[in-house]
Amino acid sequence: VIPAEFGYRRPASIEEALKLLDTDPGAKVLAGGQSLLPLLKMRLASAETLVDIGRIPGLKGVRRLDDGRVAIGALTTYAELMDSPVNEYGLLRDALPNIGDVQVRNRGTIGGNLCTSDPTNHLPPLMAALGAQMTIAGPGGERTVPAADFFLGVYLTAVGVGEVLTKITVPAGRGDGFAAVTLGVDGTCIASAAASVNGSVTVALGCVDAVPVVLRPGSAEEDAVRDAVRGANLAPPADVHSSSEYRTHLAEVLAVRAVNQARS
């Protein structure tokens, strides 16, 4: 319950943040603190220094670009997202109100959620299905990574040591859907599926592997979606909430539901 001792810095700019991260290899980036702080308190994670990027201007807010894409600042909270143009994306509209509770949604950020890469988080499969682009700032400048390549493992992403996720860019809204089975209404996720349909079909499954499993069914028809999930030969982990078999079954059911929602 009480974290190990750590230093605390609050840089005023992204340049200053990158400099701090560069000089302190034991530093971790703190955004809304809704994942990192519990991990520190349970001593499942540790940090020499927390670099709090929470007050850096320009990393917050949602902006529609001229070409219809939507750019989301990494520090935008769930509550701010719910009240923004991302409401056009049905899957985000459905998923966001079920993340945590009001207090968590007022503090937790999209960037923090994605960088945590917890397999039970809703947002990684959502971003993978939408085909979002992640903008990462580092000592050598900015680079962009597609969501499908962003998640590397449990608590592990393409954001390397000394780097910070600054922006998520989502393609223009189209047919999309989301379905999940959670504990109760908004508890821990047992399995989830996000879908995007725009000529081609993309399905991203959550909670069945360390990272979202991205599938491209041949069509949006139910049989094609089921075949795609079966063809992925999923071997999800078992835990106190679910056996591997049940998760595999849910992945198929939820993929069909997400695609159907995306088509409607």
Binding site: D101, V181, L183, G184, V185, D186, G187, T188, I190, V240, H241, S242, S243, Y246, H249, L250, E252, V253, L254
Partner: protein
């Protein structure tokens, strides 16, 4: 509650005797109206309970043999328990594909005798019902093969939250208990006792078409799906 009333009666009796002393009247001529102690037939001769309490605390002038202070202790051994009763009805929907149980409506009519604070009684029922539904649907102590508890923290133990419940509909009948002077009964366990059975029976009723007559709680999505899956002969 009965002991509290008996202690209060003792205090009122002592205050009456002290008021009689202050007002130079006989104790049986003192009438108690609210917090005022008056001499019958002379309403201008009166003392407030606060004045009596203050005077008897100082006790500069007390009747022979009377101890200072207005405090008393009383005990009560009830001749029988109180018997609150009620009926709870749960309506659930079961998702055939995922096994998820959705509690769509919950109605509770309880008889807890007379209520002193109705809002606290409602709160006791809400909390008890949530606890009982949690036992029926989500909360379970899971151990591994070595006897290690796997659901030892709030991260893994599925304690329900307010957002998991429909609005709980409460109503009442009022049958005062005959075993205490004000007709009160207990309420603390009413919700927790009825709700587990109501919700579990609703789920089993929903699973009747599959020939399922019993499952071990909690009726998690996986448990319910597994039961339906097996009943269908293992076919999805």
């Amino acid at each position: 509650m009965t002991a509290a009333i008996k202690a209060t009666d003792k205090i009122k009796d002592k205050a009456r005797r002290y008021a009689a002393h202050m007002l130079e009247a006989a104790p049986e001529d003192i009438e108690i109206i609210g917090a005022e102690y008056r001499v019958k037939g002379s309403p201008e001769k009166k003392k407030k309970l606060q004045e009596i309490a203050f005077a008897i605390d100082l006790a500069f002038d007390a009747p022979e043999g009377m101890e200072p202070y207005l405090d008393e202790t009383a005990y009560y051994d009830t001749p029988n328990c109180t018997w609150p009763f009620g009926t709870h009805i749960a309506i659930v929907e079961v998702d055939e594909d995922t096994g998820e149980v959705d509690l769509t409506r919950y109605i509770a009519v309880d008889d807890v005798g007379k209520k002193i604070n109705p809002m606290i009684v409602d709160g006791q029922l809400h909390g008890g019902i949530a606890q009982g539904v949690g036992q029926a649907l989500w909360e379970g102590a899971v151990y591994d093969d070595n006897g290690q508890l796997l659901t030892g923290s709030m991260l893994d133990y599925a304690l329900p939250r307010a957002s998991w419940f429909p609005n709980i509909e409460l109503d009442e009948t009022v049958t005062p208990s005959p075993v205490n002077p004000i007709g009160v009964k207990g309420v603390g366990e009413a919700g927790a006792i009825a709700s587990t059975a109501a919700v579990a029976n609703a789920v089993i009723d929903a699973l009747a078409p599959f020939g399922i007559k019993h499952l071990d709680m909690p009726y998690s999505a996986q448990t319910v799906w597994r039961a339906m899956h097996d009943a269908k002969g293992g076919q999805a």
